[in-house]
C-alpha cells in the first residue's frame, strides 16, 4: 500500500517537474520509479525484522542502509527536487533578496550537504556502539 503511494508521489513529482517530457520517457521513468519504491519499501517496512533468524551482522547492515536511505532522501530533496524540479514554483516565494528555489540551488543545498555528512557520521557512530560486540562469524 505504502509502496504504491510512494510510487504515485514520485510519478506526480516527475510529471510536475517535466511536463513536456516525451511520452516514452514517461513510461520509462514510471517503471524505474516503481522499481525504486519497491526496493525502498524493503528497507523501510521490514526494519522490524520479519525474518526471525536474522543475524546481528545483517541487522547492523539493515540499520545502516536505512540510515543511508533516509539521508539520501534529504540529499535528493534539497538538490534535485527543491533546486531543480520544483524550482519555478519555489521561486515564487521570496527569501530576503533571494528567490527561494534559486537559493536552494546555489546556497541551501550545499549547507544541507555539510549537515548531512556530519549527521550520518554521528548517527552511524551510535549504531556502531550498539553493535559493538559484533564478531566475525
Amino acid at each position: 500500500m505504502i509502496v504504491h503511494l510512494v510510487w504515485l508521489l514520485l510519478v506526480i513529482l516527475w510529471n510536475f517537474g517535466f511536463p513536456n517530457a516525451h511520452p516514452l520517457s514517461d513510461i520509462v521513468v514510471a517503471i524505474i520509479l516503481s522499481y525504486i519504491s519497491n526496493k525502498l519499501s524493503y528497507y523501510f517496512i521490514s526494519n522490524i525484522n520479519t525474518e526471525k533468524n536474522i543475524t546481528k551482522n545483517e541487522q547492523y547492515w539493515k540499520d545502516n542502509i536505512q540510515l543511508i536511505l533516509r539521508c539520501l532522501l534529504i540529499w535528493f530533496l534539497v538538490s534535485y527536487v527543491f533546486g531543480i524540479i520544483l524550482v519555478q514554483e519555489l521561486n515564487l516565494i521570496r527569501f530576503g533578496g533571494y528567490k527561494l528555489g534559486f537559493w536552494f540551488a546555489q546556497q541551501g543545498s550545499i549547507f544541507t550537504f555539510v549537515f548531512l555528512i556530519f549527521y550520518y557520521s554521528f548517527k552511524i557512530g551510535k549504531i556502531d556502539d550498539k553493535y559493538k560486540n559484533l564478531k566475525d562469524e
Binding site: S79, Y80, F95, G96, A105, Q106, Q107, F113, D128, D136
Partner: protein, 566 residues
C-alpha cells in the same frame, strides 16, 4: 610597484612557502615515507582533500560560468558538493575498511580478476587525463594574464612548471603543502568577494550580500535580472541550462563522478580509521563549501560590475573604447577578450543583440578580472592570481600522481611485471607523468570547452565507469566479475561515444559526425551531462550479464561481509 611585478613576487612567495613546507615535512618524517597519511587528523586531511579537489575549474572557471549562465550554473555548485555526501555515505568508509592503496586494487580484490583491474585502470586514466586537460585551460588563462603574454605561451610556461611541480610533489609532505595551498586559495577567493560584497551591498559576508540590497534599496539579484534582460540576455535567476531534465542529469553526473574520481577517493585511504574517514569527508566538504557558497556571490557581483562598467547606468553613453580601463587592455593582450567597433561610434556596445561589439568574452577570465573590474587594491589582484595558480597546481599534481601510480603500481607491478624493481617503478611513473602532461597540454591548446566544461566531461567518464563498479562491489553480494567488467566497459564506451559524436573524435571538431547540435541530443541532454546516463547503462548491463554467470567465490563473500562491519 606595478601590478605585474607585484603578482610575480606574491606568486614567487607562495611558491617558496610550498617548497619550504614540503622540505620541512619531509625532513621530519623520513622514516615514515609510506604512512605519511596514517596519522593525519581528519581536519587536516579534510583541508588537504579540499585543496586537492578544488581545481582551476572551481577557482577560476566555475564562478565565470555561473556569471554567464546564472541559475543554470547551479549544476556545478550542487554537483561538485553533493558528490561528497555519496562519498561519505556510500564509498569512503568501506574502501577505508578494506585498506588498499589504489582504487583499481580494490576492484581487483573485489572482482577477483586482473582483467577487472586493467579495465579500471584504463577508465581511470581516461577520466584523469580529461580532467588534467581542464586544468591546463585554467593554467593557460592564469599564466597568460599575469605574465601578460598570449594564451598559448602562457600554457607552455604553465606546462613546464606543472611538470617540475608534480615530480616534486610526488615526494612526501604533499599533504602539508596542500593545507598551505588551501589557505592561500581560500584567502585569495574570499577577500575580493568580501570587498566587493561590502562595496555593493554594505554587507561584508558574500553569502548574505548576494541576497542584499544595493545603495538605492533594490535587491542586487532583482537589479541584475533587470539589467541582463534589458540587454537581451536570459534572466539571471531563472535561466536554466537548456532544460530542467538536462540540469538534473548534469548535476547527477557531476555528483556520482565526484564519488568516482580516484584522486579524491585515495585521500580517504590515508586516515586513521573508518570513523575518521567518515568525519574527514565532512570536514573536506566544509572547507569546500566556504568557496562554493562564495562563488555564486562572486558570479553575480562580477556580472553586475562588468555590465555597469560598460553600460554606465548614470550616464547617457556607454563606455568609450578609448577610455577603457587597464584590465580591459590587459585581457585584450591575452586574446580572451575582443572588441570590434561595428558601428564605428567609438563606444562599447555589450548586449545579446546584433549590435553586440564584445565579440569574445571568455568566461574563464571572470574570476581573475573581477577584482580589477571592481577597482580593488593591486595586492588583492595579485593574490587572486596566486590563488588560481595554487588551485591548478595542487589538483594537477594530485591527478598526475593518481595517473602515475595507477600505471606503475597497478599496471606494471600489479599485472604485467610483478618483479619490477622499485627504481624502475619510480622511473615508469615519471615517464607516465610526462606523457600525461604532454597529452593534456596538446588538448589544452585546443580545449574542447571552458575549463569547467572540460572537467565536467572527466566527471562524466568517472561516473559512468568507476562509481557503479565500486557501488555494486560494496552493496551487492552477488555481483560477479563478468558483470562488473562488462558494466564498466559499456558505461565508459557509451559515454565516450556520445561525447565524441558531438564534440569530435579526440575532441577534434571537424570529426564530430553528429554535430554539436541540440536536435541530435538524446532527450536534449548535452554531452557534458551524459555521464549519469552512462552510469545507468553500466548498472543495467552489469545486472543483465551478472545473471548469466556464476556468483562470486566464497572468499569474496567473506571480504564483502568484512568491509561491511565497522
Amino acid at each position: 610597484m606595478d601590478l605585474q611585478n607585484l603578482t610575480l613576487s606574491i606568486v614567487g612567495l607562495t611558491f617558496a612557502l610550498y617548497i619550504g613546507i614540503a622540505f620541512w615535512a619531509r625532513a621530519k618524517n623520513t622514516n615514515e615515507f609510506y604512512i605519511a597519511g596514517g596519522d593525519i587528523h581528519p581536519i587536516a586531511n579534510g583541508m588537504a582533500t579540499a585543496a586537492d579537489w578544488m581545481s582551476a575549474a572551481s577557482f577560476i572557471s566555475m564562478a565565470g560560468l555561473i556569471s554567464f549562465f546564472g541559475y543554470g550554473g547551479s549544476v556545478f555548485l550542487m554537483g561538485w558538493t553533493g558528490g561528497y555526501v555519496l562519498l561519505a555515505l556510500l564509498l569512503a568508509p568501506y574502501l577505508r575498511k578494506h585498506g588498499t592503496f589504489t582504487v583499481p586494487e580494490f576492484i581487483s580484490d573485489r572482482y577477483y580478476s586482473k582483467t577487472a583491474r586493467v579495465v579500471a585502470v584504463i577508465c581511470l586514466i581516461i577520466a584523469s587525463v580529461t580532467y588534467v586537460i581542464g586544468q591546463m585551460k585554467g593554467i593557460g588563462v592564469a599564466f597568460s594574464r599575469f605574465l601578460e603574454v598570449d594564451y598559448d605561451q602562457g600554457l607552455s610556461i604553465g606546462m613546464i612548471i606543472v611538470f617540475i611541480y608534480a615530480v616534486m610533489g610526488g615526494m612526501k609532505g604533499i599533504t602539508y603543502t596542500q593545507i598551505a595551498q588551501y589557505v592561500i586559495m581560500i584567502i585569495a577567493y574570499t577577500i575580493p568577494a568580501i570587498f566587493i560584497s561590502f562595496m555593493l551591498t554594505g554587507n561584508p559576508i558574500p553569502q548574505i550580500g548576494l541576497g542584499g540590497q544595493l545603495s538605492d534599496g533594490t535587491y542586487l539579484l532583482d537589479k541584475l535580472d533587470k539589467i541582463v534582460t534589458d540587454l537581451g540576455f536570459d534572466q539571471y535567476t531563472t535561466s536554466s541550462r537548456l532544460s530542467l531534465l538536462n540540469m538534473f542529469f548534469y548535476t547527477l553526473s557531476l555528483m556520482i563522478g565526484t564519488a568516482g574520481l580516484p584522486h579524491v577517493i585515495m585521500r580517504f585511504f590515508t586516515v586513521r580509521s573508518v570513523k575518521a574517514a567518515r568525519a574527514s569527508a565532512g570536514w573536506a566538504l566544509i572547507f569546500i563549501a566556504v568557496l562554493y557558497t562564495t562563488a555564486p556571490a562572486v558570479a553575480a557581483m562580477a556580472r553586475y560590475n562588468l555590465l555597469t562598467t560598460i553600460d554606465r547606468p548614470n550616464m547617457k553613453e556607454n563606455l568609450p573604447y578609448n577610455e577603457r580601463p587597464s584590465w580591459f587592455r590587459n585581457w585584450e593582450k591575452t586574446g580572451l577578450l575582443k572588441f570590434e567597433d561595428k558601428n564605428l561610434d567609438g563606444l562599447i556596445q555589450y548586449n545579446n543583440f546584433e549590435s553586440n561589439e564584445m565579440v569574445t568574452v571568455d568566461r574563464d577570465i571572470m574570476v581573475l578580472a573581477n577584482p580589477e573590474i571592481a577597482n580593488l587594491p593591486k595586492w588583492v589582484i595579485a593574490l587572486v592570481a596566486a590563488g588560481g595558480i595554487a588551485a591548478a597546481l595542487s589538483t594537477a599534481a594530485g591527478l598526475l600522481l593518481a595517473i602515475a601510480s595507477s600505471i606503475s603500481h597497478d599496471l606494471l607491478k600489479g599485472v604485467f611485471r610483478p618483479n619490477i624493481s622499485e627504481k624502475n617503478e619510480l622511473r615508469a611513473s615519471r615517464v607516465a607523468m610526462a606523457v600525461a602532461i604532454a597529452v593534456a597540454g596538446y588538448f589544452g591548446f585546443n580545449p574542447p570547452d571552458f575549463a569547467a566544461g572540460t572537467v565536467a566531461l572527466a566527471f562524466g567518464l568517472a561516473a559512468s565507469s568507476i562509481f557503479p563498479a565500486l557501488m555494486m562491489g560494496i552493496f551487492s553480494k552477488s555481483m560477479n566479475k563478468e558483470g562488473a567488467i562488462s558494466g564498466m566497459l559499456a558505461g565508459i564506451s557509451i559515454t565516450l561515444l556520445y561525447v565524441f559524436q558531438h564534440k569530435g573524435i579526440m575532441f577534434i571538431q571537424s570529426t564530430s559526425f553528429l554535430g554539436n547540435m541540440d536536435q541530435n541530443w538524446f532527450f536534449g541532454i548535452e554531452p557534458n551531462a551524459f555521464g549519469a546516463i552512462g552510469a545507468i547503462f553500466n548498472f543495467v548491463v552489469a545486472y543483465l550479464v551478472c545473471k548469466k554467470y556464476p556468483s562470486p567465490p566464497k572468499k569474496v563473500m567473506e571480504m564483502i561481509m568484512k568491509i561491511r562491519r565497522p
